[in-house]
């Protein structure tokens, strides 16, 4: 983060010319801030407006009074609390299982002979090209055959399928950035391959594992399509599903609770992004750069 302030490679010309140059620049800055930030802020202020206020034609930016009841309404009466519980369980289990599978596999793909790693990497790339609307068909049939339709376990199974290739892709990049020499040195000193993995690779890989896990969590927390196809009963719904259904029905009138629910569902994602910030992007693309 601080790299920007320290380096500040500026394309702006030298001090003399600055002033006239800065007017359009700051105009652009303001436009971007409004474009990116205003929708979110509006959603938040809407969540604090009373039903009466929301009925009025000319909406003020700030609510006239804080109407916290919207939050109570969406969480208790509309079952959002239960959906949040489902979303959390599903995302957590998906993340744990994906990580357990992906860490050794990502290591292997990065360190194995070219034939294997090439085949695996090629497959991961190919699997990204297939639209989810195609992939869901055999998965739906498999989940139905297992009797897991409309259960959170069926959804977890499908999320594993969706998450694994990308988790491997990210981890492969992180492993590749660990110098081979370290492992070789370990081998020279007589460490077994398991010791090398545990004592040398794992500690260095930990930030990458955390990033991959958070990314997997986020993706399953945000996912909508698979949940829409696989879940029918309200008590098994995930957050995006409940909110989408609510918007299609009473939400058209109950804007306050709708905005409150939408705001609450965003908080975990925002927290994760707060933690990861730019590491996320570098991790995403690590796999691409360090083949």
């Amino acid at each position: 983060m601080s790299a920007i302030e320290q380096r500040g490679i500026s394309i702006a010309p030298e001090k003399k010319k600055r002033k006239y140059y800065l007017i359009p620049t700051y105009f652009a800055v303001i436009c971007y801030i409004i474009f990116l930030g205003f929708p979110f802020v509006w959603m938040f202020t809407t969540s604090l407006k009373s039903p009466f206020e929301l009925l009025q034609l000319d909406q003020s930016f700030l609510p006239k009074s804080f109407y916290w009841q919207n939050y109570q309404d969406i969480m208790e009466k509309r079952g959002l609390l239960n959906s949040a519980k489902n979303s959390t369980i599903i995302a957590l289990i998906t993340t744990v299982i994906t990580t357990i599978f992906a860490v050794p596999a990502g290591y292997a793909i990065a360190r194995l002979r070219k034939v294997f790693s090439g085949a695996a990497t090629g497959w991961i790339l190919i699997s990204q090209v297939f639209p989810v609307s195609l992939v869901i068909i055999p998965l739906f049939m498999a989940v139905r055959r297992l009797g897991l339709l409309d259960t959170i376990w069926g959804l977890i199974l499908v999320y594993l399928v969706a998450a694994l290739p990308f988790a491997l892709w990210m981890l492969k990049g992180y492993v590749a950035s660990i110098p081979m020499d370290l492992e070789e040195a370990g081998a020279m000193d007589g460490a077994s391959s398991f010791q090398i993995l545990r004592r040398i690779v794992f500690p260095l890989l930990l930030p990458g594992i955390v990033a991959t896990a958070l990314f997997t969590f986020l993706n399953s927390w945000n996912e909508f399509f698979f949940a829409l196809v696989l879940i029918q009963s309200p008590e098994n719904e995930t957050l995006p599903l409940t909110l989408a259904r609510f918007m299609g029905s009473e939400g058209q009138v109950l804007l306050g609770p709708l905005a409150a629910g939408a705001f609450l569902a965003t908080i975990p994602s925002l927290l994760i992004f707060g933690i990861m910030q730019r590491k996320l992007a570098s991790g995403l693309l690590a796999g691409a750069v360090k083949g």
Binding site: A108, M141, L255, T266
Partner: protein, 299 residues
């Protein structure tokens, strides 16, 4: 297992042990379902239990070729994927350039630039729906305040405005990854390179044209390719925003295939649509990557 490669570097002797338990789930959870998906496209599979599935060769594809509704949706999908990607690229590149300068509000902008990425697509759709409401939404209110013609438009419900509006929202979602990646590439430029160019008398435009652009070329190619893949088959945002309406103006192919499979139960036919979409993506990528490679060798 060989432990020494031609370059003389030693591989971790035990790596295959970790590969095996991990490749099994990869095969089971990824290779098998995808192969089944492709196979389904060549069958008459329909929803429901105890229905005998027959291999029918290219019958689904033959039928699909004459399905004008699908091709209308397909066209919308291509326009959608390309427009969202290009618009997000322009907006994201601009934002990355601003973030790279010493300006006020930089911290705020940096945080905000990630917000669209962090939000679940369903929430993005709900949020923009709140903003764009014709009666209570603030956007029409603001436009009216400034006496902009076109205020009081039902942006998501109007035949002419629905698709462009959805594209703009799509670009809003796609921006952060592009911004962050391009910013990282720009900050990877060695500062002495820019200083040297400045000393040699290069102006801001020349520095941008001959240093910044080449530095972000590779990552931009990757970003465009990824965004075309992601957007062509995207579903949630459009489903919640417009559900394909008004009058099919925003009926992206993922919605079409979803309806075919889970509304009408035609799994085989829907799978053939998915296969055609995957082929279209591969074709688009091939053309695009070839073009950008040619451009690379020309310079």
């Amino acid at each position: 297992m060989k432990t020494t490669s031609k370059s003389g570097k030693m591989y971790n002797r035990g790596a295959w042990k970790y590969a095996l338990p991990a490749f099994i789930p990869l095969v089971l959870l990824s290779v098998v379902p995808l192969s089944q998906a492709i196979w389904t496209a060549f069958t008459d599979n329909v929803a429901g239990f105890n229905v005998k599935v027959k291999f029918i060769g290219f019958e689904n594809f033959r039928r699909l070729a004459g399905d004008t509704l699908f091709w209308a949706s397909f066209k919308i999908g291509i326009i959608w994927a390309v427009s969202v990607t290009l618009l997000a690229l322009v907006l994201g590149f601009g934002l990355a350039l601003l973030l790279n300068q010493k300006l006020r509000f930089l911290g705020l902008m940096r945080v905000l630039s990630l917000v669209p990425w962090a939000m679940p697509p369903v929430i993005v759709a709900i949020m923009w729906n709140l903003l764009l409401r014709p009666t209570s939404g603030p956007i029409d209110g603001i436009l009216e305040f400034f006496h902009v013609p076109g205020a009081k438009t039902d942006w998501l419900g109007d035949f002419n405005t629905a698709f462009p509006t959805v594209i703009l929202i799509g670009a809003w979602v796609a921006m952060p990854i592009i911004t962050v990646s391009i910013l990282a590439a720009i900050q990877g430029i060695p500062s002495d390179m820019i200083e040297a160019a400045t000393i040699d008398g290069a102006n801001a435009w020349q520095r941008f044209r001959f240093i910044t652009i080449p530095a972000v070329r590779a990552i931009t190619t990757a970003l465009v390719a990824l965004n075309i893949i992601w957007n062509f088959s995207s579903f949630g945002l459009v489903f919640v925003l417009t559900a394909g309406g008004p009058g099919g103006k925003t009926f992206v192919p993922a919605l079409f295939a979803y309806n075919e499979a889970f509304k009408y139960g035609n799994f085989g036919y829907a799978a053939s649509m998915g296969v055609v979409m995957a082929l279209a993506i591969v074709l688009m990528l091939a053309v695009y990557l070839k073009a950008s490679k040619r451009e690379d060798t020309q310079r």
